[in-house]
């Protein structure tokens, strides 16, 4: 590749990994096209009320627990400002052909097609969350007060700063008892996916902690199989939750049913062996992550192999890098790390190994 021609790359997916990868690429002086299927950048991470210690966090105790403002908004600003980045929202990748160093891309924006030549590709198609309706016994499709953790995040965000109270969907009451069900659709090859989604434990504990801190009288239960978290600091996090009174019950919940007016969570406490029925005002299903629809198609056109769980294998062909949840469930921290690595790989490839100083 001649060094004076402008190098270009396509980033598929405008979630946190895609955003970071685009910024890094652009800062390496690479003309970057960022394609996002939705009308908005940020992906799932942007919908969270807050995140728990990520790479982006200023780890000097300066957290205002308002990640949308602190992490994402400035990043949007940077992305939209950057001369080297062109963002295409509401756009899907229809076709990819060619070879590393020279890919031909066909893009589709609301029926309008556009052809593009790029030298390299970063796939950051992310993952989607498991559809909780698939597990009938948890009643997500039937009961208003059975919600997924993302729906809870949405509630927290929309109620923030306006009302002091936290209202459950059915009648707007502050719930007195909240049950968190972990591994919904995860580690369950019959009804869901076999893999563990890694981040759900942390999120559930975080949400439980927030609720318990705000409403000390609220009874908060977390039903789990194993408590897992890849991040250091989790142990303290977990302990804090225990200390403020979040109750952890080991065992997979059998069902959530309505008994007259109340939701009842039935489970076996594996540790004590007893069968429990817990009346609950709100049930939060912590759904896992699974591959995004269409990501297999893109992987195929890029000659990337798939893992048994449907996620993409990372070590593919030269000139193609994968970042974020497309590789498997992960949190924001790993996604950003991934993205930085992916951008490095691509920059290295386009430079022929030559180092370009990063910002």
């Amino acid at each position: 590749m001649s060094s004076d021609s402008i190098k270009s790359a396509l980033v598929i997916g405008g979630g946190v990994a895609g955003m970071q990868a685009s910024l890094d690429l652009a800062n390496y002086g690479i003309q970057t096209f960022l394609v996002e299927r939705q009308e908005e950048l940020g992906g799932r991470a942007y919908k969270l009320s807050r995140t728990y210690r990520t790479h982006e966090c200023k780890s000097d105790g300066c957290c205002m627990d308002y990640c949308r403002e602190c992490i994402f908004t400035p990043k949007f600003g940077e992305l939209f400002q950057n001369e080297n980045i062109e963002i295409m929202l509401g756009t899907e990748v229809d076709d990819i052909s060619g070879e590393p160093g020279n890919f031909q891309i066909t893009l589709n924006t609301g029926g309008e097609t556009r052809n593009l030549n790029v030298n390299a590709i970063i796939m950051a198609t992310g993952s989607t969350t498991f559809d909780a309706d698939k597990i009938k016994e948890y009643g997500h499709d039937r009961y208003d007060d059975v919600i997924t953790f993302l729906e809870l995040e949405k509630m927290i965000v929309s109620q923030r700063g306006e009302a002091e109270s936290f209202a459950r969907p059915s009648d707007g009451k502050i719930p007195e008892t909240v049950n968190f069900l972990l591994c919904v659709g995860s580690r369950d090859s019959n009804k869901g996916n076999q893999h563990c989604s890694i981040v759900c434990c942390t999120y559930a504990i975080g949400q439980a902690k927030d609720l318990k801190t705000k409403y000390p009288d609220m009874e908060v239960y977390i039903h789990y199989m194993d408590l897992r978290a890849a991040y250091r600091g989790f142990e303290e996090f977990y302990k804090e939750a225990q200390e403020i009174g979040v109750q952890f019950i080991r065992g997979r919940v059998a069902s959530v049913q309505k008994d007259n007016w109340d939701l009842v969570v039935s489970t076996e406490n594996i540790d004590s062996g007893e069968l429990m029925e817990i009346k609950s005002d709100l049930v939060v299903l912590t759904v896992g992550q699974e591959p995004h629809r269409g990501s297999d198609k893109i992987a195929e056109s890029l000659n990337l192999a798939l893992q048994s769980n449907g996620f993409v294998f990372g070590n593919g062909t030269k000139g193609i890098a994968v970042a974020g949840c497309a590789l498997g469930p992960r949190g924001i921290r790993y996604s950003v790390e991934d993205a930085k690595r992916a951008a490095l790989e691509i920059a290295d490839f386009l430079d022929g190994g030559e180092v370009v100083e990063g910002n």
């Binding site: 200023k58 000097d60 105790g61 300066c62 205002m64 627990d65 308002y66 403002e69």
Partner: protein, 157 residues
Amino acid sequence: MVTEAQPKENEVVSDDKEGDFEPKIIGFLCNWCSYTGADLAGVSRLQYPPNFIPIRVMCTGAVDPVYVIKALLEGADSVLVAGCHPGDCHYLSGNFKARRRIAILKKLLENLGLEERRIRLEWISASEGQKFADTVNEMVKETKKMGPNPIKKEWDI
């Protein structure tokens, strides 16, 4: 700040009365913790009285006591210096340095008969929006109780 004439000693100036006296409080907020804490108070819509006027500095360790003296001499009724909690300073130890300087200054002003509470050094982290609002509320209340800065009664400033 308006001094029409030199009042006689112990004479109660009209704006001295608690209630209709609106104090002015100047705050030096460290960029990393307390300023962000103030932002959080804003984001969380935590109301506090508008008597507080912030100045952003990089670190409490960069707050020259001269600034505080100047503010008081110009007629500020109280001064807040707020930074990261001990051990959390973005610049490792700025807050410890600030603590020494402010302690010296307080001692001097105390000797000059200025209430020690007119200068406050507070540790407010970025996540303590509530603490920030509380601190301002408390300071306004306290300053109202103490009355206007006596320096204002003097002509020279």
